[in-house]
């Protein structure tokens, strides 16, 4: 079933995942990264210069994923392009059947390896949601008609764990009202904050309009957790979790177990529609996680 179908019907929990960055190697490189995760996910995020590092573009990867039989979610960030370019990307990708858009404000250029770059932010995240939604209704921001209107499903991201914590629910409401049909929540190592955020969304009725997909992150070591804590904007990994993984005999397995626990907790919350998975391990853990959580009983895993 398509992502839209799953969001409309909520017939089962949804699984989406982040696609790794690609820098070369043609479609074969995309296929090689896609094959291990494709059976386990409903849709895959084609990222847009993640963490402010240049890579093969969101549009190209979204089209490649579509070509290779996956359902792409094209991330679009506000950092690198003005409103003309953002609209052109969405409309252009839609020509190739890319329907799902995830609108983000984006990390600042200073988070990347080219901090001297000019930052754009001509639109902000909520504005981009409204603009993309309007494109799907057959109109550019200028008012110029788009015929036929592209079929679009617009979503966004919200961080349930960054201050101001109470206001994050308001922000989810703002994005939902602007047209977001799903929210892939930022990686969150604070189960209490996620629970409070989701409960707030349920109270406001946001979860019925907009599918809430908490993100969990597969890491291999205490070092990668420390890196996320220190270097990824908006992510706080509590000392307790970092210590637990560092002290474990098998830290790779321990960090997997942390992710499994966070996933189980997220899925136990009323109002959660599924999971978004960021995989920094690339060792088959994504399939293991989805299987152990019982998320895709329709997938039969065959061992070669």
């Amino acid at each position: 079933m398509t992502l839209r179908g799953l969001i409309d019907s909520r017939s089962r929990l949804i699984v989406t995942a982040e696609f790794p960055a690609i820098n070369g190697g043609g479609l074969d490189a995309v296929r090689a990264k896609l094959e291990p995760i494709l059976p386990f996910v409903d849709a895959i995020n084609a990222t847009d210069n993640p963490a402010a590092h240049a890579h093969a573009s969101n549009v190209s990867i979204a089209i490649a994923l579509k070509t290779l039989g996956a359902e792409p979610i094209m991330q679009v960030v506000c950092r690198d392009k003005n409103r003309l370019a953002l609209q052109a990307d969405i409309v252009g990708a839609a020509l190739f059947g890319v329907e799902n858009i995830c609108a983000l404000t984006g990390d600042d250029v200073t988070a990347g390896d080219e901090p001297e770059a000019r930052r754009v932010f001509d639109l902000d995240g909520p504005q981009l949601i409204a603009v993309a939604t309007r494109l799907g209704q057959g109109q550019y921001l200028s008012g110029r008609t788009l015929t036929p209107a592209p079929t679009l499903l617009v979503g966004a991201v919200e961080n349930p764990a960054a201050p101001p914590l109470k206001y994050r629910v308001e922000r989810a409401a703002l994005k939902s009202d602007a047209g977001a049909r799903f929210l892939q929540l930022q990686i969150c190592y604070h189960p209490d904050r996620l629970a409070a955020f989701v409960a707030g969304c349920v109270e406001r009725g946001i979860d019925t309009r907009t599918a809430l997909l908490p993100t969990v992150c597969l890491t291999k070591s205490a070092r990668s957790l420390a890196f996320m804590h220190d270097s990824v904007p908006g992510i706080d990994v509590p000392q307790k979790i970092r210590d637990r993984v560092a002290a474990a005999r098998d830290s790779a397995e321990e960090s997997y177990q942390v992710t499994l626990e966070l996933s189980r907790h997220a899925l136990s919350l009323t109002g959660v529609a599924g999971l978004h998975i960021t995989d920094f391990r690339h060792d088959g853990s994504l399939g293991r996680l989805v299987t152990e959580l019982g998320l895709r009983p329709d997938v039969v895993v065959t061992t070669a």
Binding site: D108, D124, D177, A178, G179, P233, G234
Partner: protein
């Protein structure tokens, strides 16, 4: 009218670090200028706010939107300002940069938005008639096949 932007900047620059975007929303942002956010966000904090409430880009300062959100609840603000905080604000009109928002407020110029902008993405499209008038844009595909769109007055 050239004097007005100077006067406005002299006052608001000192008090609010005003950046003269020409479409002032201070009343809706707890009297905190959103253009002082390094990402110039008009609709609330990004997801990068640090654990201690400091800015992702400039860690020496508090997140502009954290401050704005706190101030929006101030008892000295009218209730309407608090409510307005939650509204979706339109994209910046870059043509207004450097002009006096006081004049733009008076003429209503600061509330003009592109015809395709709506507060809610789920609302209905305006009718074609209204669109034509508001846009004044003519697409004659036979003569303008290069993707060129002429802006001509509709009389």
């Amino acid at each position: 009218m050239q004097l007005l932007p100077l006067v406005e900047h002299a006052v608001k620059g000192r008090v609010w670090d005003c950046r003269m975007c020409g479409q002032c929303v201070l009343h809706a942002t707890g009297m905190t200028c959103p253009m002082t956010c390094p990402k110039t966000l008009r609709n609330g904090p990004c997801g990068g706010v640090r654990e201690d409430g400091r800015c992702e880009v400039e860690p020496e300062m508090e997140c502009v939107w954290l401050k704005a959100e706190r101030r929006s609840h101030s008892v000295v603000n009218p209730d309407s300002w608090e409510r307005e905080f939650a509204h979706l604000r339109p994209p910046v009109d870059n043509r207004l940069r450097g002009t006096a928002s006081w004049a733009n407020l008076f003429t209503g110029r600061d509330r003009q938005t592109p015809a395709g902008w709506t507060r809610s993405g789920t609302s209905e499209l305006p009718s074609d008639d209204r669109l034509e008038v508001s846009l004044g844009e003519v697409d004659d595909l036979d003569s303008l096949d290069q993707g060129f769109h002429a802006r001509t007055p509709l009389a």
